[in-house]
Assembly symmetry: C2
Homo-oligomer: 359 residues x 2
């Protein structure tokens, strides 16, 4: 049976070099080495260097490896908030960060909007005593993106509060000035095309300072995933627990592949693929773009409303070996979601667009 091409918004197609790297990992016994060995430390260091180069992350920022972006929501609340966080909520994932703050008995506030749109990002609507402000660069559930210039405006208006950016299905494609934010994170099964099971957390010196302040004020900042402990281990290029060494190894390889291809090429291709997908959706008699405001349309996850049950289109594509995602939550059966991540070649997206058009 020929392999399917996964255009699902995560887990998605693995990066086209992963299979070869997995074979290298088996040959070099990467899964068997000690996670505190010099060999494992080497993978850690290379991955950090490559990520910094790929996304122009400032030298004094730290990069830590945790288990998932979901975990990192929690760790940010534990380390960076004593009481007051503020969350932009406009989809399943941005909402969930707010819900976590409520679960942990903090006093979160939010600016919310319906799926498919973005809340008012006027910085004056954020309370002055907010400790942490959060937004998702790319709401994977709806295909709405948060314009980076709005983040920079918020920074200017609230220079003392920390900013946490969800880059889950955006990094490394979306270009962000990391010096204007304090915390950013992603999981590897989206744009990096790895098997699920690793979350990456990028933090500024100010974020680490905040965790130290919270601890000094007598609050708990957690145990093994506190920022001081992550830093202590990170400075040795070690994780705080027996982490997914295989995935750190694979990430070191895939980021090297991306550096070789060049971020400029990856970003240019990404714009082309997104334009083609939205054009295809707009031309299609049975589809319409869910996000009507064109400047909010995600470059990496295109979402389309379907006239009838979206399962019909999904199944028709699947029969041709092309797997796209269903609508999220209440939109299941009414939408399709299509990922165009760095591993998806222009030719694959063209094939998908042609096939969609013919349905």
């Amino acid at each position: 049976m020929p392999k399917k091409i996964f255009f699902t918004p995560g887990p998605s197609a693995i990066y086209f070099t992963v299979e070869a790297h997995m074979k290298t990992a088996l040959k070099e016994q990467v899964m068997e080495i000690n996670h505190r060995s010099a060999q494992a430390e080497g993978y850690y260091k290379t991955t950090v260097e490559n990520l910094k180069a790929l996304m122009a992350i400032p030298e004094d920022y730290q990069i830590f490896f945790l288990s998932s972006a979901t975990e990192i929501w929690e760790r940010q609340l534990q380390n960076l908030v004593i009481e007051k966080s503020f969350h932009y909520c406009y989809g399943a994932f941005s909402n969930r960060f707010y819900d976590f703050a409520a679960d942990w008995k903090l006093s979160p506030q939010k600016a919310a909007s319906d799926f498919g749109s973005l809340p008012n990002t006027d910085p004056s609507l954020i309370p002055a005593d907010t400790e942490l402000m959060t937004m998702a660069l790319n709401e994977t559930s709806t295909g709405v993106s948060f314009p980076v210039k709005d983040i920079y405006n918020i920074r200017k208006a609230h220079p003392d509060a920390l900013i946490a950016v969800d880059g889950v299905s955006a990094f490394p494609v979306i270009d962000l000035d990391f010096s204007q934010i304090d915390s950013a994170y992603f999981s590897v099964q989206k744009c990096f095309g790895l098997p699920a099971g690793l979350g990456v957390w990028i933090v500024s010196p100010r974020a680490i300072e905040k965790a130290n302040q919270k601890l000094a004020a007598g609050h708990s900042i957690g145990s093994y995933q506190s920022l001081p402990n992550l830093l202590k281990n990170g400075l040795k290029a070690q994780t705080t627990f027996t982490a997914n060494v295989l995935n750190i190894f694979l990430l070191s390889k895939v980021t090297a592949d991306m550096l070789e291809k060049g971020m400029e090429v990856i970003r240019r291709e990404s714009k082309y693929k997104a334009a083609l997908l939205y054009h295809t959706i707009e031309q299609h008699p049975a589809l319409s773009a869910f996000v009507t405001d064109k400047k909010l349309r995600s470059e990496t996850v295109a979402v389309a409303n379907t006239q009838s049950d979206s399962g019909i289109i999904i199944n028709a594509l699947k029969e041709k070996g092309l797997v796209v995602g269903n609508g999220y939550g209440a939109h299941k059966g009414k939408q399709i979601r299509i990922a165009s991540f760095p591993t998806h070649s222009k030719e694959q997206i063209e094939l998908l667009a042609d096939t969609l058009s013919s349905l």
Copy 2:
């Protein structure tokens, strides 16, 4: 270069079938499927069924997939303790569970002993109002095992408190009556021979009830890894986050392989391998068993003191392709630690024993 054989106490040698299963995973695109698809649910269900069969876990116990045993320490404190936990501390890992409770501002108590021995397990030494009692079946840092009959005595004396058993380097080799405990957990890179990046949590109905009580009393029990949320997802054979689907798939396969071999055979071989290792250590002029009380000696991790720098022996073995572990923490350079997990064949342990004897 011929492959090395890893006898390190975790990460260790991968189970001898893992490489073949990894190739199947690539062929069947296991890393690309949605973690909430019927296919992923199938891996979840099979793994749960196999684990229950392998270790005779009661039907009404739940099995959840998290990121690591380290995480599960934290989740147990969040879900199962309002204030008072009691910890047997006799090595790096059993101590760390106690430290986590202190980090989270609970009021933990402990019975502690030096590395290489076990604290007094007389149940009358445990405070009557203890909510959770914890012990490690196998202290990976020292090679000390906690006798299961002592656990059953503790249960009898404190029937209302919950018992949490660390089975990290013990399961499935050590036979435990799960009906006498409420929480048990392990990570997969030890006896199950998988790549690191998955923690497995086994809980009794009483444990879930305790989490519900804590929540009803107005305390936070966390967010996505609260037991009610784990249960809600677990009943659908789903994880609470985008988990390491590849590892759940591999665990379904390795547990099936173990069932086919038979736990009785695995346990009989384990006893033989341990006896051979301790015999070799005792006969060796430059080695002595660290754990002097024979009935406390771990079956899966043998620890030996070395007369001179343990690095000399470790390197001599490494030159012959045999990798053993160093002493843990303060014992680094003074001890070697040898894993004999189910993937280590009798022949491999014999080869190691012969090579050790010849040094």
